[in-house]
């Protein structure tokens, strides 16, 4: 049955995120941007958040992921809460502790033993922890099949050699899910995922990149130089890759994360809209019958309409995921649409505020810089269109 309502539990979660956002995420995001440095891992806020259970895995999350009875709701909760987190600050939200993008592959591909082992630190309330997901390389981003990080079996270990780039939270991560290939000529079939734990010798040259926006979390590049990973850290075990392509595991996790990233773009767009509307009200831009003010109202109306449309695309993709139905097209549609409208909304917000909109002490200026990344991460807008065109138009797979 169609419904646009959130249930009571989600309403409560939303309220908690709102408080967290207003009191911490927004101010911390702004502070990081001013300083040009990520929120430090030892910031007391992370400790408090962790103690409150934010990002930390508990029995409840497992229950939501695989409920024994009743319907699955994790994906819908995810997009609604993701939008709210990003509304307050997308950068600070990604900086929050937790397994992050590393969670979906471990959940989907990991053996029960691996899930237990790698998630254990994320159940420990004593101190915050982070996880990371490393696919992108300096020479391979969109063309995921072209990754060159090499994995070789040596006795009871795997040896990794290669380089990864733009990996969120990698510097502070407890472990990184690293994608490598056992045979570069085999394309996707050669892919394997390894959990590389913090301090593993050969995990080297960690450095933070300087970004235009989203400064609150670190995007890191690193090298894997003869990095020995125990055989039991091959995600899913060798059997997994005999029966299914490892690549499929990665792509499936994108179907889960894409609606979420799209929802975060919606959150940024809504933040831009609210800031612009507040400015317009404060400066009486809506109440005077001048053509100039009419333009402001039209811009706000356009922003509001696009935000709602993008949000509904996210909700649809998530609903399908919860129903365990294929959602590749819908996830990519949401991911192609939302970042583009969010970019537009941030630009319109700047224009509503005129010259004031480009000042760094106004939040929309930061939003304009932050939002660009949303059309790049988790598959660029172009790649989303290819995914959709393949399904809708029979567009050839080689892209």
């Amino acid at each position: 049955m169609i419904s646009f309502d959130v249930d009571e539990k989600l309403a409560q979660q939303l309220e908690r995120v709102r408080t967290l956002g207003r009191e911490f995420l927004r101010p911390l995001g702004i502070e990081a941007d001013r300083k040009g440095e990520a929120i430090p891992a030892d910031h007391p806020f992370f400790e408090t958040a962790w103690r409150l259970g934010i990002g930390r895995l508990g029995p409840e999350e497992d229950e939501e992921e695989r409920p024994r009875s009743g319907e699955r709701t994790a994906a819908r909760r995810g997009v609604v809460l993701g939008e709210e987190l990003a509304y307050w600050d997308r950068g600070a939200a990604v900086a929050l502790p937790g397994p992050g993008l590393g969670a979906p592959p471990i959940r989907r591909m990991g053996t029960p033993e691996q899930r237990e082992r790698f998630f254990a630190p994320f159940r420990d309330p004593s101190r915050p922890r982070w996880g990371a997901f490393a696919m992108t390389e300096p020479g391979a981003g969109s063309d995921v099949a072209a990754i060159r990080t090499l994995a070789r079996k040596e006795g009871d270990a795997w040896v990794l050699d290669g380089a990864k780039t733009f990996i969120s939270n990698a510097i502070r991560a407890e472990w990184i899910v690293v994608w490598a290939t056992v045979d570069p000529s085999a394309g996707r079939a050669g892919h394997r995922a390894f959990v590389v734990e913090k301090g593993t010798p050969g995990l080297e040259d960690m450095r933070a990149e300087h970004k235009m926006g989203l400064v609150a979390y670190e995007s890191a590049s690193f090298t894997l130089r003869h990095c020995r990973v125990p055989a039991e850290n091959l995600l899913g075990g060798e059997r997994y890759y005999e029966s299914r392509a490892g690549f499929k595991g990665a792509m499936e996790s994108f179907n889960a994360t894409r609606p979420m990233v799209a929802a975060m773009a919606v959150g940024i767009a809504r933040a831009a809209y609210d800031a612009a509307r507040e400015f317009a009200r404060e400066h009486f831009l809506l109440s005077r019958p001048l053509p100039r003010h009419r333009r402001v109202a039209e811009k706000l109306a356009r922003m509001a309409r696009k935000i709602e449309a993008a949000r509904l695309l996210c909700w649809r993709a998530a609903s399908l995921a919860d129903a365990e139905r294929p959602n590749q097209v819908e996830a990519s549609m949401a991911k192609a649409f939302a970042p583009a409208i969010a970019q537009e909304a941030a630009g319109l917000a700047v224009e509503v505020m005129a010259e004031a909109g480009v000042r760094q002490d106004h939040y929309v200026e930061k939003l304009y810089r932050d939002v660009k990344a949303m059309d790049i991460v988790e598959g660029t807008g172009q790649i989303q269109r290819i995914v959709v065109a393949r399904r809708l138009l029979g567009y050839p797979a080689s892209g």
Partner: protein, 342 residues
């Protein structure tokens, strides 16, 4: 006969401007951005070339050069570093206003001091009011050094303020090299005033063309960079430029820049009766083209575009900032619409 090629004079100015942009501005771009100012020797070198007032009347140091030459030059400077343009030029977008006010000495003073340049405010949105010859109000952002004088273009006319202006430093999204200020007036007396509507139209048009030329320059820089990158970067077995999704995007970017430049040249050539409309078109088109190009140039570089290792993220910010100046696209579109209604 119709001919859209530049003449020898404009071509020479273009080449000199290009060389200056390539040798003096590009290499120092990040350094100037970090410092929030342009190195004095770079400013001096530019002013020695006679560029800042070359299109002004002779009494202002003009060299009988056309406005077309000026916008051709400014495109090159924008290509090099649009933020630097304000410091290099001294009077910049306010030059025509100073001419209308007859402020020859002030113009000379500005050019003598490499750290001093004019703040030009264009406000048709009612943020600054005039009461009995005194200015009132606060203007949030203008790329200018805090120590320079301020020229204000309002529906009532042109006002020059030298004292009683409160100027405080602010940080902007882009144009870092120019530095930026918030300017407040509190019953500020105007040192000079011109209430001639035709003079106002000429002054606003000059400011619009100044900004439009810089926008075309930055947009061209970003397009060229993205095109080159896309021909080198390989994904899915070929240069990304050879994937149709990106090829079409890049060709649209290149086309948008060329269309905007032609409107800019057209406006620089406009007879006085057409100046208002054509200069509004030029700014509206340049802003639209550049605002399309900026984020898409970042997009073409993917994640690399979002990092400060490449210049496209800076250009995207510079464009966003430029597009708000001289009334921005909004004001330009409104004026163009008013011209239709006449």
């Amino acid at each position: 006969m119709i001919d859209l090629r530049l003449g020898p004079e404009e071509e020479m100015i273009r080449e000199t401007g290009q060389a200056f942009a390539r040798e003096r501005l590009r290499p120092a771009m990040r350094e100037h951005e970090r410092r929030g100012s342009v190195a004095a020797e770079v400013v001096r070198a530019y002013r020695e070339l006679g560029f800042p007032t070359m299109e002004a009347p002779e009494s202002f140091g003009g060299q009988g050069v056309s406005l077309l030459s000026k916008v051709v030059l400014l495109e090159e400077i924008g290509w090099g570093d649009a933020g630097a343009a304000f410091a290099l030029e001294g009077a910049g977008p306010g030059l025509r206003a100073l001419v209308e006010l007859g402020e020859r000495d002030l113009c000379g003073d500005l050019l003598a001091d490499p750290a001093c340049y004019l703040a030009t405010i264009v406000d048709f949105a009612g943020r600054i009011a005039v009461r009995e010859g005194r200015l009132e109000g606060r203007f949030p952002f203008v790329p200018a050094s805090p120590k320079g004088p301020v020229v204000v273009l309002l529906p009532e006319g042109i006002f020059l303020c030298r004292e009683g202006v409160r100027v405080s430093r602010v940080e902007g999204c882009g144009l870092g090299a120019s530095g930026a200020s918030e300017v407040s007036f509190d019953g500020t007396p105007a040192a000079a005033t011109c209430r001639d509507p035709a003079a106002l139209v000429r002054s606003v048009a000059h400011a619009r063309l100044f900004v439009a030329a810089l926008l075309v320059g930055v947009a061209r820089a970003a397009t060229e960079y993205a095109m080159r990158y896309a021909q080198e970067r390989v994904a899915f077995g070929r240069p990304i430029a050879h994937h149709q999704g990106l090829a079409f995007l890049l060709t649209d970017m290149a086309t948008a820049v060329d269309a905007a430049r032609l409107l800019l040249w057209r406006a620089a050539f406009a007879p006085e009766a057409e100046l208002e409309r054509l200069s509004a078109w030029a700014l509206a088109e340049a802003a639209e083209a550049a605002l399309f190009v900026g984020p898409n140039a970042v997009q073409v570089l993917g994640g690399h575009g979002f990092m400060k290792d490449h210049p496209v993220e800076k250009w995207m910010r510079d464009i966003r900032t430029l597009a708000q100046l001289a009334g921005g696209r909004d004001e330009a579109e409104l004026v163009a619409a008013e011209c239709e209604a006449r």
